[in-house]
Subunit: 222 residues, 2 copies
């Protein structure tokens, strides 16, 4: 297995970091090759602009998708993006580890998607959804929430976690063709004891050892 772990959190002592380290160690122990992108440590820049590219298709008017297609055809992506795209293309399992902020990805991880999921090389033409470039690869969201589990159900205080995650699971991952596994959600680790947090790390490690037995989520529609 070739696993690619993408992670963002600004505090290396965070529970999110512990989940990231657990995934890295567990998958390595299971014999997988593991590549990582620790986006905060890398100081990954989330802001799209001309710095996404080494090539220029139209110097007078920045149309990002036009430049992405041109860069795809002329090996014109900036080195930092090229490296991320190469890991994305290399892996057969991708895990995103992040804290759920404002019902979505933290800005840096959203910017990683904005910049790395480039038209031409990563999707476009008929290469999307069921025809996506990454069919056959699997992806898994591993996230923490601020609120408790009972807040994240239909008509709960924040609402159904699966509806909240749909723009990510469907609009990003399934869009480029990934089979999406059920999310690994740890609700409110900030209010847990150390023993409870350790139990969550163990639960994640155990699951990672049995991923091959899992069936992906049904293809979502809106």
């Amino acid at each position: 297995m070739k696993a690619f772990l993408v992670y963002w959190h600004p505090e290396p002592q965070s529970f999110n970091h512990a989940m990231f380290v657990t995934a890295q160690a567990t998958l390595t122990r299971l014999g997988a090759e593991v590549k990582t992108s620790d986006l905060y440590a890398m100081a990954f820049d989330p802001v799209s602009s001309r710095k996404n590219f080494r090539t220029v298709r139209d110097p007078a008017f920045l149309k990002l998708q036009t430049e992405e297609i041109y860069a795809s055809e002329h090996q014109g992506f900036a080195t930092d993006l090229d490296e991320e795209m190469a890991k994305l293309e290399w892996c057969d399992l991708m895990i995103w580890q992040f804290p759920l902020w404002w019902f979505g990805l933290p800005a840096t991880m959203k910017g990683w998607v904005d910049r790395v999921f480039a038209m031409g090389r990563i999707y476009g033409g008929r290469r999307m959804y069921e025809g996506g470039a990454f069919r056959g690869k699997r992806a898994l969201l591993s996230l923490t929430t601020g609120g408790p589990a009972q807040a994240y159900v239909k008509h709960g205080f924040h609402g159904d976690i699966h509806t909240i995650l749909k723009p990510i699971q469907h609009g990003m991952l399934q869009f480029v063709g990934f089979d999406v596994l059920a999310p690994q959600v740890v609700y409110g680790p900030v209010r847990m004891s150390d023993a409870q947090r350790q139990a969550e790390l163990d639960r994640f490690a155990q699951r990672l050892g049995r991923l091959d037995q899992e069936t992906p989520l049904a293809w979502e529609t809106y």
Copy 2:
């Protein structure tokens, strides 16, 4: 009326920029006071870290919400965030102008929310949703899409635009108490003629002149 326009796009010749300028000019002509945040021009940094704060509650472990509460009580937010919070508190109408990217906000605008919507000063305790700090204020999303209108309906190619926008309209704006008006959506301006784009700008300007007659969207639940 006190209107606050938050806008992000990396190309000043973009249609999004024209929508932003149209809103600014129209509201000014109608007698509103207008404040703006052109986040790309401001080089607004979307990445949360200790630089959000001038104060330090716990130097050994960065818990952002803990630091936010402490900064709220000790005037400890970084100057760039303090200025954005002041505009947010000042306005009675807020408009966000952005291109819909990957079913959500572009990274910089997401990071503006991550950093500016701070626990303590902006929400927290019982101050959220129906009890949100900004009850009585109105907000409106004004966005462009890549795909055509027929792709953004239930069971369409991308799915219902209202479901796609729910994490933003409900999870961010209603969360802090805003009444949310119907979104202003321009579908696929990249494929429009100049005359069609001008018609969209005129449609937006006309709507802005009649906003007082609009009823906010029903409070959403998940």
